[in-house]
Amino acid sequence: MYRYDQYDHRIVAERIAQFRDQVSRRLSGELKEEEFRVLRLQNGLYMQIHAYMLRIAIPYGLMNAAQMRMFAHIARKYDRDYGHFTTRQNIQFNWIRLQDAPEILNELATVEMHAIQTSGSCIRTVTSDEFAGVAQDEIVDPRPYAEILRQWSALHPEFALLPRKFKFAITGAANDRAATAVHDIGLTVVKNAQGEIGFRVLVGGGLGRTPVIGTEISDFVPWQHIITYVESIVRVYNQYGRRDNLYKARIKILVKALGIDEFRREVEADWQFTKGGPSTITVEELNRVSAYFVAPAYQDLPASDANVDAKVRDNKAFANWMQRNVKPHKVQGYASVVLSLKRAGVAPGDVTAEQMDAIARLAERYSFGELRVTHMQNLVLADVKQSDLAELWLEAKALGFATPNIGLLSDIICCPGGDFCSLANARSIPLAKAVAECFDDIDFLHDIGEIELNISGCVNACAHHHIGHIGILGVDKEGHEWYQVSIGGSQGNASSIGKIIGHSFTFGQIPEVVARLLQVYVNERYDDERFIDTVRRVGFKPFKTYVYATSIEDDKAWSGTEYELLGKGVPYDTPYYSPRF
């Protein structure tokens, strides 16, 4: 993976010094909260319901064991012994004291990490395919380009204060696992007929209040020109994006308002001044960065392992895990293993300090010391020998990370919601917990097969509910939490936005609503048809009709569900400088 050189170190160190000074000016009262807010957000520091939350960048989801151990250390020393992996491949700590934030950043810098632009109206952390570099369907490894874009976007002087946040996703595989269609800019590394490398560029995708699938602005931008090209896109956006209405400020609204042709014309008009100029990426720079992503020292191994094959035959639990959590690898004899962070009773994406240390050990032992975070809030050991799978399974199982549910109903994508997030209309973690507990029979889950259930606590859609096969959105009705349900959303190559099935439900009704949706699917499906394909084939009518056919009991037993980690630890004193004081 990429390692900092002296320049990266210096930039991060100077950013910390700047932030430390900003924090001390806030603590002294020199900066008022409304002045400080924008400054702290540029560095990933939010004020949530209970406390400051610090979001740390894990650029394109790639990290090593030392970084994971640092997270464990931060969780223990500055937080309440756990952290939360997000749908944008970042990690969040929920109980941070403002005065500790600079020191946390200092500690992070020792393992080459930072919180630069993990929030705020600026270019956010670039996200990517969690199987980059190892996937069988990969055409070009996107990671060097992701790193080059990380550096270009970090502290970019012209784009620190855009109309709204700006998100990049990049993939280099045939199957899009980075949700490029729902990012402000979605890049796919491709080869043209001559075998040259370039990017297909989508623009104006996004979720939130107005979900939009990105539109192709260019089918091929040669790799050398990608910085100048995206710089022109962001420059046009910075000038013309709306600043009068928060909900209309994303680039998707501008692209819709201008139309893609006019938008493209603006971009190209700007680009002609910089295309081929100094920001053109050099072969030397690409080579320099690519050298950090060369394949690890793989061994020559047989294509399959007899012990694993035998165990698959004999042990159903192992077979289930192999089927769901183990993914093919481009190198013979290797596999990628997804560690499920979704098990009943735990908030999706939450990991305790102890578990972080254990995961770091697994990475060192089985996967060249590296880890990936997925935008589905799981972790990946990308380079595991097939002959190690049985042993790894036992260890992961003992740690609670071997739930064989990747891609299944209980692999729920869920935002922090009403338990933490100050923007929430409704709780999402307890709802995820209730649904997971309701449908925890592994045979049933395997029978239902691949399905994505996403729960967002508000219209900001951090859990990407619009592209969930079943999407649940928390809405506020006269101060009470309600949930709107949609079906038919999808990420990947055939991205689509889900459609709301009708009026919303209470917390206690949701498990039954999900059960009814699944019932319709089971009745209607062809043999191996996935839920989403059935929805596409039979349409949304039968689902809607059945769900609303009879009244649904509001099962209060579920709505009492609480998030157990929430009450943990010492009480957090709301400080005088907090906006909630």
Partner: protein, 172 residues
Amino acid sequence: MMIIKNKAIVEDDWNVLRLAGNDTPQSVVVLPGKVIVPLNVWLAQRDALQDRTDLGVWLASSDRPEALQQDIARFGVIAVDFPKFADGRGYTIAYLLRERLGYKGELRAIGDVLRDQMFYMQRVGFDAFAPRTDKDINQALKGLSDFSVTYQASNDEKLPLFRRVSRGVANG
């Protein structure tokens, strides 16, 4: 009034004309003396103001820098207004004035100008800053030296870092 210019705190005698409630760009009276007028006043009263040598112009964040295409060389001072510091349009305006319109004179940031934005402002081409008057200008000056190295090319550094220096290489 004190401003920051070329990284030093200096006395400044330009007056920035801002339209009051009843003023229109056509009707407002541009008093004699060194005045920085809004772009729309300059465009509306161009004929009358033509011969004044003690005139600067300022752009609102919604103004287009190309509107100055014809006149850019006649101004020794151009200012860009930041109505609030979170409005980032002024950064692109400055960049375009420098890089596309070739403006070489003083480029001044006015309005909600705070120390924490000044390093970026300097990078895109501002060389003068009128920090908000309720803030300590000596402190604001420090903002210009927050960083000693940057990744991107902009107006200050014509080359991105990867062309400026020879960077580290992977060693496993």
